[in-house]
Symmetry: C2
Subunit: 348 residues, 2 copies
């Protein structure tokens, strides 16, 4: 069940989709005196919800405080990813290095060294800067992101240097901003693309018991200053038009929206739309999930999505749950070892 | 996806079931210089995990602070449930009262008053103390609890006055204790039955990336001082024994374990068992889930489980998810109104 991380944020409540106050059958059948007492408990429960809202505000403060502590580490990460800084030997020692060396210990070391040398020869001058396509690789490996990714987005995302999360300041309305930092590129002028997620952390007066912590209630993208002809969120289609009277045919070109990850930045504000249709509600709910996922998973542990380790973790989790279910029926199946062979599709 | 509440706690990690460090295929194919940089990022990631552990410790502190704020409300709840205190009219005013009155406004009020009077007549002297069977009703309505509940447990649980959560003090190892407070009863002498859940909030040195916040690692029940012949966790069976030589048959009685909710307090410590078999691991994982559920859901919002509102909430959630999936395929199905007719089986 409750295996998600969640620092107190939930996001998937259908935005705008308000549930009717549920009618309790049991409650209506209680003797009057008891019903009265139950109502008193409900009033106490509303007090609890209000205290809980304050709790989540304090958690948010804590998150801001910790964001400052993570910041220098994330900056270092960016420097290594972009190649601005080369880590020292000590900084890049990892136990698998030692394991490899041990494996190679028995006389094979020399052979390996020769092969390494060969490799270097085969790809002369291959000393790539930093970690090439670091963020693009993550986009490709994570289902929720690859679903949005189009082929024409890929060359652009090669220029993505970093993704950062900024929290709203103290006293400000609760929100967080995703910042996508790009190196200079041939596609747009912006150095940073932003998406702001606004949150609410107070019980709804009309439905206080549905309160479960801060909720994303709105988002706002940014204008992308595309170079001429480079806007992948639009495509040009040709259309033939026939003149009614003369019968002559002419070809006109028309700009229509195009699928692209960069539609994520469309300056779409939920709150301005008033009544939303179900389609928009669904789109918005998905968008909130993606924003939450960037904030909670991708940004804090990017390297693990790059290597695939975070994906395998998620996968093993689901497998474990299945195994537990199985165990009830088919006892004593023996130890199953966890070797998922790098299948990168945990959310399927 | 991430719709669970979770104040930073997760519980379902298979206790003892350690996953192999996942092998990253991509990582092994990277050029040596790049691999080195990825390893540097992994070292930074370990630093992040250690900072995260401190974050969760601070969240735990916050929870302790807020527990003190909830305490007077929960005490009031207990007083109302047991009948020690009768709420005032103001304290028990609830909007559904007003709605009922409005509905009854048109001349029907009188008739209703007569019927109410009749009801009182039909059940003379029925002025129950407090809210009878408050906690037992919750046990019956919540699947995770009713699964453990046996018929012979019910008369005992009618004496359950309150369930409380106590957090470990500052500086102590992280833990929480569930306290089940009973009124004097004919079954056991204990006024309080306890179950302690010990937690760990630090990354495992051998697998730092699996860290997702505090985890329950152990639990400890308590000895129940049963009155003679009242221990529902044991049953007496009769067994016929045949004497090998003489062939005479005698009947012996034997005490064997019996299904009961009160096995929840069996002084079972995970840590003492050393190597656990899969069965015990599964039992323990389920127990951790139940402990977590008491702490996170039942205790903080008991009245909503009593009336069923919390169950309907959970249910609507799942339905919403299904609807979202459906919408993709069969657009424009029209508004579906949320009327779940009190079906109490949200976890099915």
């Amino acid at each position: 069940m409750d295996a998600s991380k969640g620092k107190g944020d939930i996001v998937t409540q259908n935005p705008g989709g308000q549930m009717d106050r549920p009618y309790s059958f049991l409650e209506s059948m209680l003797p009057k005196a008891v019903k009265r007492r139950v109502h008193a408990l409900k009033r106490l429960q509303v007090q609890c919800a209000n205290i809980e809202a304050k709790f989540y505000e304090e958690v948010h403060e804590l998150e801001r405080k910790y964001a400052d502590m993570y910041q220098p580490i994330f900056e270092k990460r960016q420097d290594i990813v972009t190649g601005a800084v080369e880590p020292t030997d000590e900084e890049s020692e990892w136990h698998s290095d030692r394991e490899e060396e041990e494996e190679l210990a028995e006389g094979l070391k020399e052979k390996a060294a020769i092969e390494d040398a060969k490799k270097e020869e085969a790809t002369p001058g291959e000393d790539p800067k930093g970690i090439p396509e670091f963020w693009l690789t993550i986009f490709k490996r994570v289902d929720m992101l690859s679903d949005m990714l189009q082929e024409h987005d890929e060359p652009i995302l090669k220029h993505l240097k970093d993704i950062q999360v900024r929290f709203s300041g103290p006293g400000q309305p609760m929100s967080f901003t995703l910042e996508f930092h790009f190196e200079p590129n041939g596609y747009f002028n912006n150095a940073v693309l932003t998406k702001v997620y606004k949150m609410k952390s107070e019980p709804d007066a009309s439905d206080p018991f549905s309160f479960e912590g801060p909720e994303i209630i709105d988002c706002e993208g940014c204008q992308i200053d595309w170079h001429k002809g480079k806007d992948v969120t639009m495509k040009t289609i040709k259309k033939k038009q026939k003149h009614k009277g003369r019968g002559t045919v002419r070809t006109v070109t028309k700009q229509v929206p195009n699928d692209s990850f960069f539609n994520f930045f469309n300056p779409f504000k939920a709150s301005q739309d008033g009544e939303m249709d179900e389609d928009s509600e669904f789109t918005l709910a998905t968008d909130f999930e993606i924003g939450h996922f960037f904030r909670e998973r991708i940004v804090p542990r990017a390297v693990l999505y790059f290597t695939g380790e975070a994906l395998e973790d998620d996968e093993s989790f689901e497998e474990e749950e299945l195994e537990e279910g199985d165990e009830e029926e088919q006892d004593e199946e023996g130890d199953d070892d966890d070797d998922d062979d790098g299948d990168c599709d945990p959310k399927a």
